[in-house]
Symmetry: C2
Amino acid sequence: MLQNENYNTDLIEPCNDECSFCFLNYTDVLGKNSLFRGLSKGEIGEIIRSVHHQSKAYSKGEVVANEGDNYDRLILIVKGAVVGEMMDFEGKVLRVEQRSAPETVAIAFIFGNNNRLPVTITAVEETRLLFIPRDDLVKLFSGNKIVLSNFLDNMADRAQFLSRHLRMLGLHSIRGKIAHYLLEQVKLQGSTDIRMPHTQAALSEMFGVARPSVARVLRDMNNASIIESRGKNIRIINTEELSTMLS
Amino acid sequence: MLQNENYNTDLIEPCNDECSFCFLNYTDVLGKNSLFRGLSKGEIGEIIRSVHHQSKAYSKGEVVANEGDNYDRLILIVKGAVVGEMMDFEGKVLRVEQRSAPETVAIAFIFGNNNRLPVTITAVEETRLLFIPRDDLVKLFSGNKIVLSNFLDNMADRAQFLSRHLRMLGLHSIRGKIAHYLLEQVKLQGSTDIRMPHTQAALSEMFGVARPSVARVLRDMNNASIIESRGKNIRIINTEELSTMLS
DNA sequence: TTCATTTTGTAACATATGATACATTTTGCT
DNA sequence: AGCAAAATGTATCATATGTTACAAAATGAA
C-alpha cells in the first residue's frame, strides 16, 4: 500500500505574513468555493492570512491520502481535480466521487469520533490543494457565523450525495444504474444528444460492476432502440423507457 | 403514499415555562444523547426550556416523515425506536438504519441547499420524539460551543456510517455482505455463538437483495461448515473463511 | 396450551452478471 | 500524419441472484 509520504500529520506551519503566493493566487478561486459564499475577497484573504495553512502540488496519479488515514483538516482544491475511491484487497474499486476546483474534499469526515478517511484520494490531473487544520477551522467558526453556516450546509450536501449514491447502489440493477446516469446527463447537458463524461471503466467503478457488463447493457439498450450509441456519444431515443427502469 | 399528517411543517410552538412534562421526563434520557455530552442535567434542562420544541408520540408502524419531505428540524428519540428506509415505486425497500432512544434521527440532513429527507422514517415500536426547529439549533450553537462541537461530531459520525454502508453495498456480493454482518455481530456480542438481531427479511432489505437468496447463502455456509445455523441462532465455525469473503 | 401469524427453508427455473480473452476503434501525444 | 496506449466491443461460459410458490418451523399473544 502506498505510504502517505505527502500527507503530513504534523501541525501545518502557516505561511509568513507576506505570503503573496496564497493571497494573490488563491483568493479568486477560493471566492468561488461555497464555504466562503457571502464573503468578500478581502475577508477571504484575511481568513487565509489568519489560519495555519499549507499549499501543496500533486501530479496526475499521485495519492493525496489513503483510505483509513486519520483525517483532521480541511482540503480546498485551488487547481485541478481529485477522485475519491474505496478499494478492497483484491483490487476492486468503488469510485465515490470526483471533485474539482474550487470545491472542498471529504468535508464530511473532518469531525467525529472516528474521523478516518473512508476513501483514497488521488489527483486525476495536475492539482494544487490548500490544507487548513481542524483546530483552525473551529476558531474560524467562532469568529465567523457565515463560514460556520456554509460549513454545515457543505456537510449536509455531502450527506445528501452519499444518500443518493447509496440509493442508486442498493435499489437498482446495472440497467437501472446506467439508465439513471444517462438521464442525469441529459439533464446536465440539456439535450437528448449527450456525450458521456466518463469512460465505461469509470462507470463500472462508480456502480460496482464489471466493465464488459456496462458495454453489454449499452448494446442491449441500442438493440432495443432505447438509445443510439457510438462510443461515448449517445442519443436518447426512448426517454420514458429509461425512466421506467428507475422505479 | 401516506400523507404526512403527523409532521407539522409550521413553526413549532414551545412548551410553556412550566413544561414539567419535558423537563421531568426527558432530561434523563437526553443526558445520554451524545449531542449533550459534557453538559449537566441543569444545563440540558435550561436548553430545552429555552428552545422551541414539540413532543409527539407514535405507535408501532406509524410514519414519522416521508422520503422527499423538507427536513429542517432536529429529532431526538426520547423513547422507542425508528427505522429509516429508501423505497422505489415497485415496493423494493433499502433499509438504511434503525435508531433508538437516546439517539438522534437523520441529523446529517438538517442543513444544506436541498435539505430533503432521503429516507422514510417509521416507528418500529411505541415511540416518543422531541422536535427542535433548525433556527433554534442555530441559536443554540451561537451560545453553546459544546453543543456545536457535539453536533459536528454527530454529523461526521453519520457520514462515516453512510460511507461504510456505501462500501458494503458497492464492493461486496451477497456472501460478502452476510459474512460482514456475521463478523460484526461476533464483535458486538463478544462470542462466536450469536443470535441475529435481524430477521432474514430485514437483512435482505439492508443489503438490497432477495429474502430467499439470504436463506440460500446461509444454507450454503452451513453446508460448507463455515457456520452452524438454526434459525436466528448461529455458531461461527470458520471465522477466517468469513474474513476472506470481505477482501 | 393453543393457535394465528410470522419467519424460515427450499425447489425449480429464469435472468442477470462476472470472468476471461481478444479484436477493433478511438484518442492523445509526438 | 503516425503510432502507442487506452477504450470499446463482443463472445463464451460460469456463477450469482431473482422470482415464485409453498411447506415447515418458530414466535408471540391470548
